[in-house]
Symmetry: C2
Subunit: 351 residues, 2 copies
């Protein structure tokens, strides 16, 4: 808690997340540190593999800071991966080049016995060192964001063993063995809450919880397996670190975004690309700050598709109670100059 | 039009789709003819490849009728594929075993010049023969459904060349070359409308338009590229075949389902797995019949997950103005006896 800096109110992102009137409309981008930047690819090349990259504080801190050197962004988000949590719980995780993550999948209830949160913080010490290194170098007025995957999304990788199209293995486990699945979610709530607390103590000034696969659940299960665990994590985090802003990103939650806003556990909701902005302005913004939701492909295409996309968001959701962002991560093929165009448009300095 | 049978009112599916009170709650399942049935795998083995299968009226008619021999379903849906339309337009389409469809992708506006609907009906004659063969053998009280892919979803395959995760190529084309993209959509509206008219003339008594990838679009584009073309197709079809019921399935449309209901062009909306049923009952059902939306994984798992899932739908959306269905297709690993359990539960004859 003593790590939440007193100068918080000088930072537009924190002003907005705390419901204060901001000096300017804050903007940051999901996956702003990434392959679309040549300097990222260079520093990435110094690591043996992606996991090694995430656990090298010197390299990860450099990747975190790179986008802030190029663009007038209001926040850095620590360079890491949501799968460091399953790794810290004892699950085997690796990345296959060009194929994404692979995990030794949980197949039956007994496999859960192999997982434990006992060593979580020591195993993730490198992430906290990265945050400390970034905090020491962060430009004035910029905020540092920590993050974690939500239990449902982490469970999806832990049970599927990789990304999936229909999530049939995951749902089969969840529907077919509900008690074992609840045990897994409880372990993940504990692990994610502690991981976020440790990130805040290492210098994170706000956190985002990513539920990337919330959108595949019917509504009753979405509330039970996405919303409820995320809300419990937010409560535990706030009990340990009062005042820390929490952004929930239940991607694809659709109408159930309304329940996330009403829950009251989150300071802001990240809106995915598809969420209608008129509805968000009417139904969500009176209860919560919103963040989003430009289609990353409009950023990739640039030109009038980009400027029209930006203007639609500013008109529907700005200028107060809005953190400008994409509705999903920056695509690897995005020209960096389009990001500069985007920031200029949001700042109102573009033609 | 003279092919819409006079006995329509004897068929529960058609009664419900036409807003009449039905003799019983109708049920059919998306992908009810498919790999989960051993007899399907047997007949599939007689074709050289998947495309050949779709163009063999004897085999396709047999696959169409198989699920009705096993289960007390209210409709047969012609066995075919949405990609027969790009094929009939002159695009190269093939299926790689275990990998799904592949197409010679459209890369630039000039590639559109290679496509033409001139030969559409002759090239798809085998589909219409399949419908005629099924219509001749259809058990009493059962309806025959024709279908097509919606322009947005067809465009996704035509431009991506395969299924996609982020649809970046498709959106890049659509956002970056909007005039060429509108030309492609117009061609697809023409082709799909004609394909549906020909299916009705061959014996289809209702049609469903599948927009499987509607859910990846922001709302303004969802209305322009999914809703508007589907509504135009429905209008053209009805002009040629008055009274033919049209089901639209804009999968993942979320809140924009409301705009589909208000448009007034469709007799029913297929609800995907994730759409909250309470909202659908309140906001959609007063304006339209709804169809759906059991999670296919609940059918796969069976037991109490299945019966609870069925009961939730009947309670929220039944018994009138509902066609029972899944929220997505039957999964290949589904035990056929679970489908029998599902039908019995819907019929109220299960314990």
């Amino acid at each position: 808690m003593d790590d939440v800096p007193a100068r918080a109110d000088d930072k537009p992102l924190l002003q907005t997340l705390k419901g204060q009137s901001a000096d300017r409309l804050p903007i940051w981008l999901m996956r702003q540190a990434g392959r679309y930047l040549p300097e990222y690819r260079e520093v990435r090349g110094k690591a043996k593999n992606f996991i090694d990259f995430c656990f090298r504080p010197d390299l990860a801190a450099e990747a975190t800071l790179q986008p802030l050197r190029r663009f007038d962004l209001d926040a850095a988000i620590v360079f890491s991966d949501i799968l460091v949590v399953p790794l810290a719980l004892g699950q085997k995780v690796w990345f296959e080049e060009g194929k994404g993550p692979r995990l030794e999948a949980i197949e039956k209830a007994d496999d859960l016995a192999k997982l434990s949160a006992d060593e979580l913080e020591p195993r993730l010490a490198a992430v906290y060192e990265t945050l400390e290194a970034v905090a020491a170098e962060l430009p004035a007025g910029r905020a540092l964001i920590g993050f974690a995957g939500a239990p449902w999304t982490l469970a999806s990788y832990m049970i599927e063993g990789q990304t999936s199209r229909d999530f049939a293995r995951l749902k089969r486990f969840a529907y077919g063995q509900p008690e074992a699945f609840e045990r897994l979610l409880a372990l993940l709530v504990e692990a994610v809450a502690r991981h976020l607390v440790a990130q805040v103590r290492a210098g994170a000034e706000a956190v985002q919880i990513f539920d990337s696969w919330a959108g595949v659940l019917p509504q009753p299960e979405l509330k039970a397996w996405s919303l409820a665990p995320m809300a419990e994590i937010a409560r535990r985090l706030r009990a340990a670190c009062p005042g820390i802003p929490v952004i929930a990103f239940p991607r694809g939650a659709g109408l159930t975004y309304g329940a996330f806003a009403e829950e009251g556990a989150f300071d802001a909701l990240g809106l995915d690309t598809t969420l209608p902005r008129g509805w968000a302005a009417e139904r969500l913004q009176p209860k919560t700050v919103v963040q989003g939701n430009l289609d990353p492909v409009k950023l990739l295409v640039g030109g009038s598709a980009l400027t029209r996309g930006v203007d639609e968001i500013l008109e529907a959701l700005g200028p107060q109670r809005l953190v400008f962002n994409l509705g999903h991560g920056v695509l690897p093929e995005t020209p960096p100059e389009h990001v500069a165009d985007l920031v200029a448009r949001v700042r109102g300095t573009a033609s």
